[in-house]
Assembly symmetry: C2
Homo-oligomer: 200 residues x 2
Amino acid sequence: MAEIYDQMNEKTKEKIQSVFLHLLKERHFNKISVQHIAQAAGVNRGTFYLHYLDKFDLLDRMEASLLEGLENHLHQLEPGPLLEEAEKGAVSFQAVEVFRYIRQHEEWFRVFLGKHNHSGFHRRLKDFFVRHFTDKMLANPDFFKAVTVPKDYLSAFATSAFLGLIEQWLANDLAESPADMADMYIRIIFFIRNLDGRQQ
Amino acid sequence: MAEIYDQMNEKTKEKIQSVFLHLLKERHFNKISVQHIAQAAGVNRGTFYLHYLDKFDLLDRMEASLLEGLENHLHQLEPGPLLEEAEKGAVSFQAVEVFRYIRQHEEWFRVFLGKHNHSGFHRRLKDFFVRHFTDKMLANPDFFKAVTVPKDYLSAFATSAFLGLIEQWLANDLAESPADMADMYIRIIFFIRNLDGRQQ
DNA sequence: ATTTCCACTCAACACAGTGTTGATTGGTAT
DNA sequence: ATACCAATCAACACTGTGTTGAGTGGAAAT
């Protein structure tokens, strides 16, 4: 039973991460030192370096685990009748799940998308959406066949807009339900299909 | 004629800013020290502090002057027949001018929106667009009267999407003309008006 | 011509933070 | 008992910070 060592290890890491998250609420990433983190976590500064390379590494891993969680959350639902579902339903469903996951981890998203982060996360999340959503959208041959706009611009447009909705949602303290948000996104985004002027 | 002092002053500032811009192309903001900047600018480190509080202040002022330039660029064109112009034409015109200004200052936008900036500029530019564009759009009573989506979400959506287009345009090395880009934006965004299903 | 002005230089300062080291502590497992 | 291992602690050289006070050199003012 060497698991107890792992448990100690995890407990310290969790303490560090939790403290770091709280610090990021109050001050900018650049103004937080490893000293602050260690002190606030009640941990020796040397112990921090036992677990992380530096504060960039800490932030990086937390962001990565949040995205990994989102990836898993979406993958859990992937195999099933959903793949065969109507385009609109499928996209909408994916969107709902994204909003749900964000609500589940509101604190983290709020901090990582907030003004105190040095904001690699915005870019990371956008890349995530570009990979995920537009791959699915564009893989469907009929989906955007009527669109007269280059696909990369369409991806950039749709995912940036989606991210914009998320950020506004957070700014509004998650006043709307995930279903409402997904519906809003779908109601907006699906009119892009009509770029040639034909009716929805 | 004490202007020569101002000229010296300006020349040093320009040298510092130019060097800083070049440094930001190569390394992340966090990894650039005042020492680097001063050395690369061929200027004493003390001289840097004669002009700027710190490197954050330097970045801040450069970003601000870029946005101020954009503000002026748009204001120059404001008074005229354009105000009375058709909604679509006016928005399109504004958009063209934004893309034009960005092309004029490609280097700065590329750096400040790039991965080496600590990325306050993305947020700043988005806020700029929210103030500018959606104020105009939403001030027009008929413009979005049919839209069933809350105005703040619509603003967030439209401006984030616009910024997404800009970033993709930069990623594509400004392959399209400003007019093409504005047209693309308009072609996409104007279908939002049809959210209730009526024809464009 | 000399004095004033002023951007800039230079060296030095105390200070905060970094990442690493080697020795040590105190529970846990064998 | 003893080997194990996360965590502690003090000390290290190092980089960068922001500020100081004295000094330089060329243009401006009188």
